[in-house]
Structure formats: C-alpha cells, structure tokens
C-alpha cells in the first residue's frame, strides 16, 4: 500500500500542487484507517495514524490551516475508539495481545493528539455535514468570514466597554481571565446558543459550560433572558455528573435548587411567559413582545422534570450517605426547602392549568409526606408557609387542610384520584392507606385496600410500586397489632415476614446471596431502588410484632392439636415453628439476649401454662419502646397472654380433670370471672372443647370420651373413604367439563352458543369478586403478597 501510494504521487508530482499532494496522501491514509476500522484491526490503525500525523504536521510552509479531512478523521477515530473500548468492557471475549496493545497505544495517542485540535474538532462536530473535500477557496472564504465575526465581536465589545465605562466606571472582572469572551445581555443569546450546541458533545468541559451560563445569568437583564439562561443552566448542572450511580454534589444541588426557585419566582412575577413542554422551539433570539391582553408567550422547557430530577438526586444522595453520620442529618435538613420548591411548582402548574404536571408534583409532595408523623408534617408545612410568599394559594389544599395532616393527605390523594393517571392513582391510594395505617385507623385502611382491588393486579405494576405496596401491607399489619387485632396482624405480616427476605421486599437493604450471583446490572438497579434510611420501617420491631402474634395464635393451636398428628401439621406461622423447634433442640439455653430469644422463651412458658413468666419475658423486650404508647401495647399484650394462657391450659390439661372450678381458673389467670366464662363458652360453642358449664356449682364439666384404638382407626378409615369419594367426584367433574369443551369446539354453532351463555357469568363473577374482597379478608391479603414474592423469586 505504501509503495503504491508513493508511486502514484510520483507520477502526478509535476501536475499537482504541494497542497493537493498532501491532501491525496491524507486521503489514502484515511481510507486505510476506515478499512481497518471495519475489521477492528488496531495494528494497522496505529501505523496509519502515525503516518497521518506526520503528513498533517509537515505541511508546507504557509499552509498552517489543518485540513478538515484530518480533523474529521481524528474525531471519528476517537469516537470509534471509545466505542471499541466500551464494547471491550462489556464483552467477555478478549482481544489478542498485539491488538490489545495497539488499542491501548492508540487510546493514549488519540487523547494526547486530539487535545491539540480540540477547537477544530468542536467546530467540525458542530457542522459535520459540510462537504468533506473542501477546496481551498471555500476554506479561505470561511477564514475571512470568521475574521469578520471576530472583528464585529470586538467592535461590540468595545461598545459594551464604553457603555460600562459610562455607566459605572468599571468593567466586568471576568474579562481578565478570558479577555476574548465578554458576556453581555446583547450577545447573550448567541453565547447561549453556542453553549447549547456544545452540550452533550465529547470534550465539552461541563464545568466550563456551567460557569459560562452562570456568568450569562449574571448579565441577563430581562426576565426572558433570565428564563432562557436558567432553562439551559439547570439541565447542564444535572448533566455535570454523568454516572448514574454517583450522586450530585451537595453544593451544586443547592445551587440548582436555588435556580429552580429563581425560575419559578420569575415565572410567578411575569405571567406573560409560560414554560410548556409542548411549546414550539423558538428559533429567533429576539426578545418576544407580549402585549397585555394577548395570550402569554410559551417557552419550551419542563419544570416538572427539573423538580423531579432534583428530588431524585436528593434521594440518591441520601442513599449514598452513611445514615449514621451527621452528614445524613444535615442533608436531610435540605428536604424542607426541596419540599417548598415542590409545593411552589405545584401551585405554579395549578395556576397555569398544566394538569399533568400538577399531578406529578402532587404525587412528589405526597411521597414526601405519607410516611411522616403528624408533628413533622406540621412543622414542614409551617416552614413552607414562611418560605413561600403569602400570595401563593393552592386550590387543591386549602389553608385549613394544611393545619391537619390527615386532611392534607386526603385532599392531595383525592386530587390524584380524580386527575391522575392510573399509576399515580395506585400510588396515591397506597400512600393514603399507609397514612391511615400509621394513624391506627385499621378499618379505614383495610376497607380502602380491599375496595380498591389493588391486590388483584399489583403484580403487574412496576417494582417501585410493589415495594410501596409491601410497605403499606406491613404498616397495615403493624396497625392491626397496635390495635390488638392479633389475627389480622398476623395475616397481614405473614407473607412478608414469613419469607425471610424482609429486607429485600421492603427495599431496605440488599440481600446477601450466598449461592446465586446477581448480574451486576440487576444489583445496580436494586441498589437504586433502596429507600433512604429515614423512610425505613424498623425491621426488628416488625419481626418482634410478627413473632408475638404468631406466638399468641400458634401456641393454643398447638396445644389444641395435642397428640393428634394430622392437626399438628396445620401450621400457622412457619418461621415461628422453625425457631421454636430449633430452640427446643438446644441442650442448654441461656438467658434470653435478643428479641427472638425473649419470644421463644415466652412461647415455651405460655405452652407450659406459666403465663406470668411469659408476660415478664415479653415485657422485657426493649424494642417495644419504639412503638407509640408503649404501655398501652404492653397492657394489651398482657391481657392477650392471659386469655391465650387460659385457652392453652384448658387444651393441654382438660384431659386430666372431670370438673374445673371457674373461680379457680379466674384466680389462676387473674381474669375476671365473666371473661373466663365467656372464653370457655366460646370454646364450647365452637366445639373446640368438649365440656359444658354447670351454673349451679360454678364449674366446667368436661366430657372427654376416650376412644379405643379400634374406634379411632375406624373413624380414620371412614374419613379416608369420604375423601376418596370426593376426589373421584372431582375428577369426574373435571373430565366432564373438559370433554364438553372439546365437543363444543367440534361444532361451531354450539360453540357460539356456549360463549353467549358464558358472558353473563363473567359479569356476575365481578360482583362475586367484590363480595369476596370484603369477607375473605385474610385469604386475599395472603394471595396478593404471595404473588409478589413469587415474582421476586422468578426475578432473582
């Protein structure tokens, strides 16, 4: 190739000018590089690149202009290099050694080389479509043009200087640092355009851009200019940090927050401008003239996305800061200001009837509030009132509702139910339920959960919403627990706590996986989903509540089962049973140390009828202090333990007695005699206990009939026979229905009729669902979360 080239140029040496010759040589090298790129041959690329540089640098005297072709080539080469490096990283397959070496060499060379030509590359990138083979005349024209621009620039600068001198006698300080660029409100639009065009390009110094824009903002003189500059400045600050996993610098975040506020203030003060996502992109850099009475001028941009992004960055920073440091607390203090901005944005959108943006803001607002206790919401709202000017009033939340957090949340949610799209509605509903549960309104929360049919299709929603759903379920469970509804609490918490993946399901920490390795992207996503620490639900408290509920249900049921193997198999809470078994297998058991030990000890005491010891152990658990009204909860638990203790006692020891004195039972469990009678009556009525009361002597008479072995076996035999017949019937039924379907398919006409008939049941079924939701509360609750866990399992 080399020799060919040289011979070619030899032939033409006489006819061509030195410049043309150079261009030809360049062309040849470029072609070779292009070919090599196609086959990814870095050794060739390296050789040709060296040659290219030699030609370019050894240009004849007077030809100091670097050929455009050269610039184009090195720019493209750089892109290709980056691309290759990227690919290299992703793919497992390695390049061979020589290739890899060449690639590495090129990487360094190009970096070094391209730095010299930065400006030219930039220019080329701005206008890559221009003709590749530009002749010198065109080049010259361009040069001249450029000069004129520069000259005019200088002129205007002079003018500006003069003006400045005239005005106040000093010039802008920045001028010294970069004497060639001066920013004024006159050339603002042009500079702005330059910056905007450079945005997103390689080699653009992002920090530099931000600085330029900030300077522009200083000189901007009209609201329109300010808006335009801010619209450019805010995104470029967001862009500053290119990586998804890192969070934005806190100072920069704060300045962005300030700028967004500034933007909002400008817009509030100048109602003649509206920022709209669907607006036409304005091309002229002129100040628009808006006269009074005309519709406001729309500017293209999206404040919603700014605020969204700001909020996301805030969350991201909280995810990354260690929650146990003061940094975290300091960062958390910024939330109020952020919240104020969100409220401000909401009011702005509301005023301008941008309903979609409004609902997004309302959702953001809700998500900042729903998990907080009343006092915090109150303080935040009050601070926001002081931050925002009085004139700003929202129609969604009236001032009266701002004084009452429940009212506030209610009005926000109702707005979203009415206006929001389905995802926002779902999330709003979940937040609303969460809030109710937090305030111990179990029935309201339960009814909302069931009436909204959220659980039917929560598996189809995105993972973030599913996490919110899990959080809500857990909170509803805790609410039931606080209200003393042990059974409800257990069934709500069962699916989440029973999995042993609580952390993952609530997005409060990654699960350390011993056997499976998550793909890195998956892990990254999981990491991004984590909730910041201040939103966490205390897992230990959760486990404690769950295990206590399980104990109160499981111990009597185990006692009732007695030696009956079949009944023993009916497990209410698997994790509880597992722990109890483990605990019982231990040869020595020391004094309880953690929450689990306490509960296991309590469970064993309860099973043995020592309810006082059980109470002591449960009361000794320290984590109860985290619940509001600790004493009330402890009292409730004590009471439950007494009752369940009585039941367990009756189940366990009733076989050894003919009669039991009610008074004695009452003193044994220190319960009022009425309660004892009621509990025993209930057990008799539900046929849990074969006994009856003797009102005259105030005793329980137990009718225990001991079965002989033969009788017992006969009974079992009879039961087996029944289940056989039932199984047979079911099989037949199934066969019948499937057979019918097949026959129907054979006959078209019959098939149509079949469908007609089926329409109605489908409609009725919907009603049935509604019914089910209310009455089979426990089942439904269980199902939905189970679905979620299955999906998770599938995912991982």
């Amino acid at each position: 190739m080399d020799s060919e080239d040289s011979s070619d140029s030899d032939v033409k040496r006489e006819v061509r000018s030195a410049k043309d010759k150079r261009l030809d040589a360049l062309g040849a090298s470029v072609k070779a590089i292009e070919n090599a790129q196609k086959i990814n041959d870095w050794v060739v690329i390296q050789n040709e690149f060296d040659k290219l540089n030699k030609i370019a640098s050894k240009g004849p005297a007077g030809m100091n202009a670097i050929p455009r072709l050269y610039i184009k080539t090195i720019a493209l080469l750089e892109d290709f290099l980056n691309e290759t490096l990227q690919k290299e990283k992703d793919s497992k397959k390695k390049m061979n050694a020589t290739q890899a070496k060449a690639l590495n060499y090129m990487k360094q060379r190009i970096k070094k080389n391209n730095r010299q030509y930065e400006e030219e590359i930039e220019k080329w990138r701005l206008n890559p479509a221009s003709e590749e083979s530009e002749d010198s005349s065109a080049e010259e024209v361009k040069q001249k043009k450029k000069k004129t621009i520069v000259e005019s620039d200088e002129e205007s600068q002079d003018e500006d200087d003069n003006e400045n001198d005239n005005d106040d006698g000093f010039t802008i300080v920045n001028k010294k640092a970069k004497p060639s660029v001066v920013y004024t409100s006159e050339n603002l639009f042009r500079k702005l355009r330059e910056v905007l065009e450079a945005r997103g390009k390689k080699n653009t110094d992002r920090l530099e851009q931000i600085k330029i824009l900030q300077k522009l903002l200083e000189v901007a003189s009209t609201p329109y200019q300010e808006i335009r500059v801010l619209l450019a400045l805010i995104p470029s600050q967001f862009d500053y940090n290119p990586s998804m996993s890192n969070y934005m610098n806190v100072d920069m975040w704060k300045s962005t927050l300030k700028e967004i506020n500034q933007l909002l203030i400008i817009l509030e003060d100048n109602p003649k401008y509206i920022i709209h996502e669907a607006a036409e992109e304005e091309l002229e850099d002129k100040e628009p003239v808006v006269e009074a009475g005309q519709p406001p001028f729309t500017i293209r941009g999206s404040i919603v996305s700014f605020v969204d992004r700001l909020d996301d960055e805030f969350t991201k920073s909280l995810q990354n800061i260690d929650p146990h440091t003061t940094d975290y607390v300091d960062r958390l203090k910024d939330e109020t200001e952020l919240y104020a901005t969100i409220v401000r944005g909401q009011i702005y959108f509301e005023k301008n009837a941008l309903s979609e943006s409004t609902s997004r803001m309302v959702m953001r607002r809700l998500e900042h509030l729903y998990y907080k206790p009343d006092q915090v919401i109150q303080t935040v709202e009050n601070t926001v009132k002081t931050i925002l000017p009085q004139s700003l009033e929202s129609t969604i939340t009236t001032s009266s509702s701002e004084n009452d957090s429940t009212e506030l949340i209610h009005s926000l949610c109702v707005y979203l139910y009415k206006k929001g799209e389905s995802l926002l509605r779902t999330r709003a509903m979940l937040c609303h339920i969460y809030h109710h549960a937090l305030h111990n309104r179990f029935y309201v929360a339960r009814d909302m959960l069931l009436m909204s049919h959220l659980q039917d299709n929560i598996h189809q929603s995105d993972i973030g919403t599913q996490i919110l759903h899990n959080r809500t379920m857990v909170q509803v469970g805790l609410c039931a627990f606080r209200e003393g509804m042990v059974k409800e609490a257990q069934s709500c918490l069962q699916e989440i706590c029973g999995t042993g993946r609580v952390k993952e399901l609530l997005a409060q920490g990654l699960l350390l996986q011993k056997y499976m390795q998550l793909p890195p992207e998956q892990e990254k996503l999981d990491r991004q989903r984590q909730l910041p620490f201040h939103m966490h639900i205390n897992l230990e408290l959760l486990e404690c509540a769950y295990l206590t509920c399980s104990m109160l249900l499981e111990i009597p049921s185990m006692a009732a089962a007695g030696s009956n193997l079949e009944a023993r198999k009916k497990v209410i809470s698997k994790p509880f049973r597992r722990m109890l078994d483990y605990n019982e297998r231990q040869v020595f058991s020391g004094p309880p140390e953690n929450t689990r030990d306490h509960i296991m000890g309590a469970a064993k005491a309860l099973a043995a009828g020592e309810w006082q010891k059980c109470q002591e152990l449960i009361n000794a658990i320290k984590i109860w202090d985290l619940m509001p009204e600790t004493q009330k909860i402890k009292d409730m638990l004590n009471r439950k333990i007494q009752e369940e203790g009585l039941r367990t006692y009756l189940f366990t020891y009733s076989t050894y007695y003919v009669t039991l004195g009610l008074n004695q039972l009452a003193t044994m469990f220190s319960l009022p005699i009425n309660t004892v009678t009621a509990i025993i009556s209930k057990m008799i009525w539900n046929e849990e206990l074969a006994a009856s009361l003797d009102q005259v002597n105030n005793v329980v008479v137990l009718h225990r009939v001991e079965l002989t072995k033969v009788q017992q076996l006969t009974l079992m035999f009879a039961e087996k026979a029944v289940s056989f017949v039932e199984a047979n019937e079911r099989t037949l039924e199934q066969k019948q229905t499937t057979g019918q379907n097949q026959r129907d398919q054979q006959r078209q006409k019959a098939n149509q009729q079949h469908q007609n008939v089926e329409k109605r049941p489908a409609y009725q079924k919907r009603d049935g669902n509604q019914q089910r939701s209310r009455n089979n509360f426990n089942n439904v609750l269980g199902n939905s979360v189970r679905g979620r866990t299955q999906q998770n399992r599938y995912r991982s």
Binding site: Y443, S692, Q695, N697, Q736, G739, Q770, R774
Partner: protein
Amino acid sequence: MASYDLIPRMIPYMDRHLVFPLLEFLSFNKIYPDHDLLKAKYELLAKTNMVDFISELYKQIHNTDKVPSEFAIKRQEVLQTLENLQTEAQKVLDIIENPEVITALRQDKLQNLHFLREKYGLTDEMVYTLYQFAQFQYNCGNYGGASSLLYHFRILSTDHELILSALWGKLASDILDPNWDADAALEEVQKLRETIDQKNFASPLHQLQQRTWFIHWSIFVFFNHPKGRDSIIDVFFNPSYINTIQTSCPWILRYLTTAVVTNKRRKNILKDLIKIIQQESYEYRDPITEFIESLYVKFDFEGAQHKLKECEEVLSNDFFLVATKMEFIENARYLISETYCRIHLKIDISGLSQTLNLGKEEGEKWIVNLIRDTRVDAKIDFKENTVIMNQNHTSIYQQVIECTKGLSFRSQVMSSTIEKREAHQSSNAVEAVVE
C-alpha cells in the same frame, strides 16, 4: 332515642312520597318536636302536586286561615294539566282497552307496536303521554291510577331507560297504595331486582346506587307483606346485595338482623349474619346488632339481656319494625335460651328467668314450654330448682355412620353419570360417522 332513629339516614335514598309515611309515623311517636315535623312535611311536599294538602299544612304551620294566592294559582295549573293529560292519555287507553286489540297483542313488543300503529295510529309520543300522565297522577297522590297507567306503559314502550323508571314508579305506587294482600308490590320488587341485576350499567357506581335505592324501597314491601321476611333474607344475602349494604348503607343490617331473628326456619343463615355484623361493627351498631354480637361473639348473656331491653324501645320507634316487635322479643329469648342451654349442663331456673327478662314463675313456664316443644333436651329438678341438660354426645359409632351415610349413594350417582357419558359418547361417535 333519636340516636337510633334511622329515618334521617334513609331519607336520601327514598322518594318524596315514600318519606311521607315515615314522617307521619314520627309525628305519631313524638320523638321530634311537632312543629319541626310539620315544616319538614311541608318542605317535602311543596314540590308535589298535592296542593290541597300543602295548603292545609301551611295553615297548620302558620296558624292562619289565609293561604297565599300562589296556592290557588298552582291548583288551577295542576287541574289544567291534569285535564289535558287525561284527554290525551284517554285516547291511548281507549285503544288498549279495546277487546279486539287485547286479543291481537302478542309477546313481541315491536310487532305489537307496529300492529297498533298500522291499525289505530298509535305513535311513540302517545305512549309517552301515558308515562307523563302516570307521573302526574303519582305527583297528585293518586297512586292506584299511576300504577295501572305504568303497567300499560310498560307493555307498550320499547325505551329501556323509561321502562326502568316506570318500574321504579310502579313499585313506589304499589307501596303507597295500601293494598298489601295483593302480591303486586312483591312482584314488582322481584321484577325490578331482575332488571337491575341484568342491566349493564355504565359504571359500577351507578349500579351500586340503584341497588341502594332498591334496598331501601324494598323494605317497605318486605316488612309489610306476609311472605316478605323470607324474601328479604333471600335477596339481601345475595352476594351483590350484601356487598351493597356493606358499602353504602350498613344501617340496613338492623332490618336484616330483625328478619333473620324473627324467621324460625332460616336459622342456618345466622352464622353469615354474625360474620357480617362483626365486620361492620365499627361502621354501624345499634342495640339490635349489638344483641347478636354479645350473644354470639362475646357470649355475654347479661349484656345480651340488657341489649334486649334496649331493642324493645328501638323497635317500637322504628316505622318498619313496630309490627315485629313482639315477635322479635320472643325469638330473641329463644335464641338466648338455646345458646345458654347448649353451653350449660345445669342451670338455675331463677338465673335463666332473669337472663330472659322474665319473672320466676314465667321463667319456669317458659322452660317447660321449651322442653315440650323439644327445642331443648332437658329435665327440671324441682328440689334444687334447676334444669339439667341431657348431654347427647354423638357416640363414635354414630360418627362413623354419619360419615359414611352418603357414600354409597354418591358412588352410585357417579357410576350412573359415567355410564350416561359413555352412552352419549358412543352416540356422538355414531353421529360423527353419519355426518
């Protein structure tokens, strides 16, 4: 007592005319001040066409004999419209009542309409006047007339929306036409229910509303018709209706509970009722549901006894339930004693009589009656003044027999279905071959 009065809650779901008897009842019971009630009545009826009655009320409220002139004007207007509508509707009625026409009418509505149009020039507008006239009659308080007009309208009209509202109208007229012996109202209830269940409503909310209205209106019928108390259980325990009650009008539980308690044959439904009462207890409770709750959930017999006393009062102040008061108390006693006896082995008679709100003598009589009716298997020990229950344990042999009783029959059914199916299949095969 006003706190247990459900009428204010129910009024939003009733028609003006249906509310009137309720208010009448209230003024009779004197829970609220008379003057307020008179005003309420006046406001209620001000928009109807019963001008004479309204002016009468006006006089009572303001204690004058003078009546504003607007009443007279309105009276004139009403009479005028009445006449107009009457003449127009008469045309239609003439056609319909023609015996020739009656014999010619078929099942198919469209065909009928076509036929009437061809032969007698009956137009859709004319049919519509029938509807208007019925509405007017109803507004004037002539419920019987409205009812029969709507009957005719329903036969002729093909507009589904209007037919539905005609159904509502006819139900209201039949309720207000105090003729309970005829089954008209009960039939109407049935028809309306079918229509509501089968109709495809635009939104579930609309359907819920319709059902709520229906539930409120039907109470009139259910508690006045002799067969009503069976039907109320059938209808309200239907999944979609119990759901409606739970979502939009939990106070209906009082009526449902009363119906269940007073119904001797449908005791098995009690379990479902208890469940529902328990679920709704945070939203609605009154002495009647609390009675059931304390008896079957808390097993607090003393509490049940207190509640029963309160029930008496509540029932005597409830428009719908006044008539069933004695029956309710009687049946509630049965429930208490039944539960009590099932749990206890030995009962002190005086204690039981106290629980039942009866004197000692009465209590003994009551128990003897119970034993005689074989509701309870027990003996009285006169010396100790106690009742001793006979414990009837199902012996193990009994259990096995119970268990295996149906098995052979079920197996037989199964084998016969299999045979049938095989026969069917072979015939199908033959058919297939022939085809």
